[in-house]
Every structure is written in C-alpha cells, then in structure tokens.
Symmetry: none
Amino acid sequence: MLDDLSLQANGVPIYVQLREQILGLVGRGVLKPGAQVPTMRQVAVALKIDLNTVQRAYAELERDGVLSKQRGVGTFVTDRTPPQRNTRRAVQDFAFQVAAQAKGQGIALDDLAEALVKLAGRGA
Amino acid sequence: MLDDLSLQANGVPIYVQLREQILGLVGRGVLKPGAQVPTMRQVAVALKIDLNTVQRAYAELERDGVLSKQRGVGTFVTDRTPPQRNTRRAVQDFAFQVAAQAKGQGIALDDLAEALVKLAGRGA
DNA sequence: CCTAGTGTATGGTAAAACTCATACACGCGC
DNA sequence: GCGCGTGTATGAGTTTTACCATACACTAGG
C-alpha cells in the first residue's frame, strides 16, 4: 500500500500530492471503506517527509469526510464511499494533458500508449 | 477562450493550475497549432492574478515545447512538433512519469492508454 | 499499572511561492 | 520616428510550505 505512494517535484505541494493520491486510492477501492490507512508516521518515514506534512494531508481528508482518525488507534477510510474519481471524464482530461505534453516532447501517442500498456501489465 | 480558465483555492499553486489548464486546452484541440494564446496581461487581468505568475506558467510551457513566445507580438501554440524522438529510452522515461502521475490520480493505465490511442486516431 | 503505538500540538527555521510595483526590450503599424 | 501592445526583467515584501524537534493525550494490550 505504501508502495502506491510516490512524490514528484513538479511544483505541487507535497501535502496536496499525498492528499490527491490517497483520494485516488480510496476512489479506486485499493483502500476500502473501514480499512486502516497507513500510520502518519509510517507514511512520513516511507516517503521521507515530515510528520506535520502528513498530518496536514490527513486533516484535509478528514475534513472532506474521506478519512476518520482515532487517537491512539489509527486512521481509517470512512464507511460512506465518496464519489468515484476514476470517471471517464477524469481519464479524458488527464489524457488530453498527457497528449499535449507528449507533443511538446515529440513523442507519438501510439508509442506512449504501448509503453503504458506494458507498464500496466507489470502491475505498475 | 479566457472563459475556459478558472482557478481554485485548493493548495495547488496558481501557475501550476494555469499551466495544466492550458496544457489541457492544447491537447484537447481548443487551441490549435499556430493559434495565438491569450496575452499574459489578458490572462492576468481576467483571472485577477499577477503578470509574473502568468509569465511563469507560460515559461514552463515554452520550456516543454508547447508554446512559442514572440516578443512584441504574442504567444502561440507550437507549430511543428519537434523532430520525433521516439527513442525507446525517451518514451520509457516519459511513460514512467505519466504512470506515476496517473497513479496519483487513481487513473488506471489501461484506461489511459485506451484514451490516448483514440486521441492519436483523431490526429490530436 | 505500564508500555508501546497511535494521533495532536507548538515553536522555531528555511525555502519557495505569490504578489506588487516598476521598469526595460522588442515588433508592428501609423 | 513614434506610439502602442507585446514579452522580459528585477527587487522588495508577504504568505505559504516544509522541515525539525519536542512534547502531550489517548487507546489497547500485556
């Protein structure tokens, strides 16, 4: 589960990246309702980031009703499932962005798609 | 065109939001190759943000080969895609980046690849 | 009870991001 | 040449982000 998290140096604040990624995992069902989310400390150590940064991401997710924190116990996915994130629309929008980026680098979409399929097959 | 831009106060830096949105518009074909992109000042005024913030977004898009700026004239969508660099290495590296990004957004690589193939078919 | 493991809180530091103001440099049309 | 509209550049100042260190509060289990 911790392996599913990764950070980029692309200008997006770390706590936002973390927030969005966990949101994505919950939306996709990798983290199911009621399941325990990794400890703040676990995340902090695994990603080599500060505990406060993790705390901030978790706090916002709780405010949004995605997570539920229990002092002394852990953090869990809220029972009520939030709106699905993996919509066709989201995929489309993301695909458009990727296409433009690829264009800027002179990479053909077909080749890129092929490479992605291979990555997917390896469970990336 | 300026109506297609909007900002959110969600922790993501303004210049990043702007960069991603323009990237999306280019990929979507709303902004076609050779077309003029709104003036930095136009964007700054329309979105009520600073000129320098716009400048930063545009600069990164130019660095990525998406936009081409002409002093005293305006900014345009890159006309010709730079020489195809379909080296296995380049494609791989780019695919890896995209995969990580997609993972963070909870988007399945298969779905993304499929969407890209369709885009390629449309000559986007 | 006591300990280990959770989340919570605070104060300080540094760097980055953003804004604001003010220019400068270039290209085009009159 | 001149004026206007472009993009470019710089420096100061504020806010946000991220880190680090430290401590507190609560829970479960031995």
